[in-house]
Amino acid sequence: MIYERAEQLGELDKLLKMIEPHHWSKAVRPRSLEVEPLELLEELKGTKKAIESLGV
């Protein structure tokens, strides 16, 4: 599949390039993440507007 897709895109040469192995040991379990909280009400207002624009 990957070969066929690369061929369709005319990018077979990219398959010749060696990709360095991943350093899996950096992925210590369980992973966690801290992000800025969403402005939930504002986001939901945007959703409502977009859904209405689709005629729903």
Binding site: V28, P30, S32
Partner: protein
């Protein structure tokens, strides 16, 4: 949800070498929550790529709650940008790998269009929590053992992913050898 972080911008730019006309697509699901592909993030990426000389043909930002991976909904937004997608040299997917591949499959199967698709995010696994702290809980292994492991997934929660712990590396006082502050998961 699928926790994710942005790839370094240089990596995204590297993918786009030799590509001029770009379409950006975000996701109203996890990528909005993690600020990696919400409407504002898509706008921001558009500005950064424009500064690098790219021509942004389309910015497909999905509103909160509209998941890229759920094609019955996301395809409505894709359809509105068909012309730009047909004309572009590459698509940057500001979603997880699932969303990116959902769009690739849709374009190929439904429209018969083959376009280079590049990810701008690194997904970190199914995580829960919020509004700000999230922790990985499930790796979608397809063989859920929670019923036998008292609701705690050893594949995810044990640093070694061991089902039959505690392992031989457990300290005499029952701590995990990888993280000495934590009790070994099997205890």
């Amino acid at each position: 949800m699928n926790a994710q972080v942005r790839k370094p911008f240089e990596e995204v730019l590297g993918y786009l070498e030799g590509k001029k006309k770009i379409v950006l697509m975000g996701c109203g699901g996890c990528a909005t929550i993690f600020h990696t592909g919400g409407i504002r993030d898509v706008e921001e990426m558009g500005e950064k790529l424009t500064k690098e000389g790219k021509q942004i043909l389309g910015k497909i930002g999905l509103p909160f709650g509209i998941f890229t991976c759920y094609l019955p909904m996301s395809s409505m937004f894709l359809n509105e940008h068909r012309k730009e997608i047909e004309e572009c040299d590459a698509i940057v997917m500001m979603a997880c790998g699932d969303g990116a591949q959902a769009v690739r499959g849709y374009l190929e199967d439904e429209w018969g269009i083959v376009k280079p698709i590049y990810p701008s995010n690194d997904a970190l696994g199914f995580s829960s929590g919020g509004p700000s702290d999230f922790k990985e809980e499930c790796q979608a292994c397809g063989e859920c053992e929670l019923g036998k492991t008292f609701g705690i997934c050893p594949f995810v929660q044990c640093p070694k992913g061991l089902l039959n712990g505690p392992c031989g590396g457990t300290t005499v006082d029952g701590k995990c050898e990888v993280d000495l502050l934590e009790t070994a998961l099997g205890l």
